[in-house]
Amino acid sequence: MKILIAEDNATDRLILKKLVEQQGHEVVEAKNGKEAIEKYSSELPGIVLLDVIMPEADGFEVAKFIKLNYDALYTPIIFITSLTETEFLVKCIESGGDDFFTKPFNRIVLQAKIDAFIRAKNLYQTVVKQKQEIELYSEHLVQEQRVAKQIFDNVAHKGALEEAYISYSVSALSIFNGDILLAAKRPLGGVNVLLGDFTGHGLPASIGALPVSDIFYSMTTKGFELFEIISKLNERLHSILPTGFFCCAILAEIDFEQNSLTFWNGGLPDAYLIKRKSGELLELPSSHLPLGIVENDKYDINIDMMAFEDGDSIFIYSDGVIEAEDDRGEMFGRDNLVLALLNGVSEGKSFDSVSQAIKSHSKGSSQGDDITFLEVRNHFEDQTYSPDEVEQVQVKSGPSDSSINLFLGPQSLKSYNPMPMLFDMLMEIGNLRSYRTPLFTILTELYSNSLEHGILKLSSSLKRSADGFAEYYRLREARLDALKDGYVKIAISHADLADGGMLTIHFEDSGEGFDYKSVENIKDDSKLSGRGYPLIYKLADSVVFDNNGSTVTIKFRWYSTGKPQ
C-alpha cells in the first residue's frame, strides 16, 4: 500500500519512513501541509500519516481537504501527535481524522494500526464494488423487465379490453406478479375473457403467461369453443410448468345476442354475476382444479351456462383485491367487496364503486401492485357485419378452385368441432378474410342447426327464457352424450369469378328435417330467432332447402374489392 507521511521534522519523518517501509509499504513524503496536499492529489495514497503542527497548512487543513475532495476513496487519516489535550484530539476527529499515533513512535502500534486500516479499506472497497455491481445488476434487471414487458404486451395485448362494455384494472407491472388479463372478440360476436393468476411471482409466472395469451387469442379468433380453449391451456401448462406451479383462472364467454354467459372457474375466488334488475349478486365459485396441475384426461372441464340478461354484468377478480392492505395491514376482504358491488348495482356502477372502495382502503399503503379486476356488462351488439378493411388481394389466390367433403359420425359429433378447421381453410381463399364474420356466422348457424335441431331434436324456443336457456344446454349435453347414430355431412366448394368468387356450402344431417317453408316465409323478419335462419337469409345470397329441410345449400358471393353485394 502507498502511504503518505506528512511531517515537518526531518528526524521524525525519517524514522517514520523507515518504520513504514520496514512493514513493506511504499512511502510518499511531504515536509509541510502544502506539499502534503500536492502529493496526496498526485499520488492518491491509501493511508495518510499526518502531523498536526506543520508550516504551510497544518494537519487539520490537509485532512479537511482530503475528506472534502476525495471522500469516495475512503482514505484513512492517522494523526501523528504528541498532543494529548482533549480539545486537540476533538479537532483532529472533526477535521476528518480516523486515528492517532503518538510520539515516541512504537513499531508494533504502528503496524497494528496500518494493518487494521488496510483490512477496513479492503472491506470498504469490496462493499463499494459490490454496491456498484448490485446497482448495475438492478439497472439491467429493470431494463430487462422493461423489454420483457414490451414483448409481453405484444403477445398478451389488450385485445378487446378497451371495448366500452368492459372495465378493468391491472397494475402496470402485473405480469411480474403473475396476473394476466385477456379479452378477445369472438368471430361470431360476443367476447371471451380470461383472468389468470399464476403461483409465484416474477419470471416463471410471466413466462407461463405467454402461451396462455397465445392460445387464448388464436383459439378465440379461430372460433374454438370455451371448453376447447380451457383444455388446450391445461394441456400446455401441464407440459411446461414444473410440479407445484399452476395457474388459477376464470374463463368466460359472453354472447350478447343470445344473452348467455358461459363460465368456468378453476381456483380463483368467487366471481359475481350482477343482476341489475333484481339487485342480486350471484356467486360463481371455483369448481375446478387450477390449470396445469393434472393431465387433460383427468381434467374436468364442465362449463356452466347461464342467462346474461340486459343490465347484467360479471365481475371477476384475483386474490390481490381482497388481500389489499390498508396502512395498518388490515385486508380489504370479501365483505367489503360485496358491499361495494351492491352499492353500485342500482346505478350499474359496481366497477367504479369497487375501484373507489379499494382506493380509499389502501390509501397510504404502499401495497396494491397485484390487484386485478374486471367487469363485463351486457350490451347491444350491432350485427351489421360490415366487412373489415380490405387488403388488395389477388382474386385467384389460396385454394380457390377447391372443394371439401366432410362426414361426421356420432363419435365425431360428440368430441370434435369442425368449425376451426373449415374456417381456417376458407380464410386462405382470395379475399374471404374480409368476410370472416358473416362467413363464420353462416357456418356456425348451419352446423348448430344440423346438430342441435336436426340430430339432437332440441327446440330453439327453449332458449327464449332464462331458465329454458340452462335447460337447453343441459339437454344438449345429455343427448349428445347418449348419441348412438346420426351424421352431419358438410360439402364446401369454391369457384373463381372475374371479380371475386362464389362459395357453395351444403349441409346434410340424418335428422327428420323441419317445416322449412315457414322459415322461408319469415325470412324478412329478423326479429324472430327461428333456428337462426333469418340471419342466414340476410347474409347469404341464396338459401335452398331440400329433403324436408334436412339438407340446405347456401351460396355466398364475394368480391375482390370487399364491398358487400
Binding site: D197, T199, G200, T243, G244, F245, F246, C248, G266, G267, L268, P269, P285, S286, S287, H288, L289, P290, I293, V294, K298, D300, D319
Partner: protein, 99 residues
C-alpha cells in the same frame, strides 16, 4: 422449527406450525425427502397452521408427485375452516384427502 415430521410404521406425519408459505419450502421438502424408507401413507397435519398461500399449494403438489402422483395417499387433516376454504377454492379435494 416450523415443520416437524414423525414416522411411525408405514406412515409419515408432517406437521406445519404457523405460516405455511414459501419460507418453509426447504423444511417441508426435507421433511419427506429425508426419510430412508418410503412410507405408504402421508399425513399432513395443519392443525397448528395459521395461514396457507398458493406456494404452499405448490408444495403439497410436489409432495403428491413424490408420493407417487395419482396413486399417492395423502391425508391433509385438522384444517381450520379458512384453510379448508383455500383448499376447496383450488379444488384440492380432488387430489388429496382433506379433513
Amino acid at each position: 422449527m416450523a415443520v416437524t415430521s414423525n414416522a411411525s410404521g408405514n406412515e409419515l406425519t408432517i406437521k406445519v406450525n404457523g405460516k405455511f408459505d414459501f419460507s418453509c419450502h426447504q423444511e417441508f421438502r426435507s421433511s419427506y425427502e429425508g426419510s430412508d424408507s418410503r412410507p405408504e401413507k402421508y399425513i399432513v397435519d395443519l392443525g397448528e397452521t395459521s395461514y396457507l398461500d398458493s406456494s404452499a399449494l405448490g408444495m403439497l403438489l410436489l409432495l403428491r408427485d413424490y408420493a407417487g402422483g395419482d396413486s399417492a395417499q395423502i391425508h391433509i387433516k385438522n384444517c381450520s375452516p379458512e384453510i379448508k376454504k383455500i383448499l376447496s377454492i383450488s379444488n384440492f379435494e380432488q387430489l388429496f384427502d382433506v379433513s
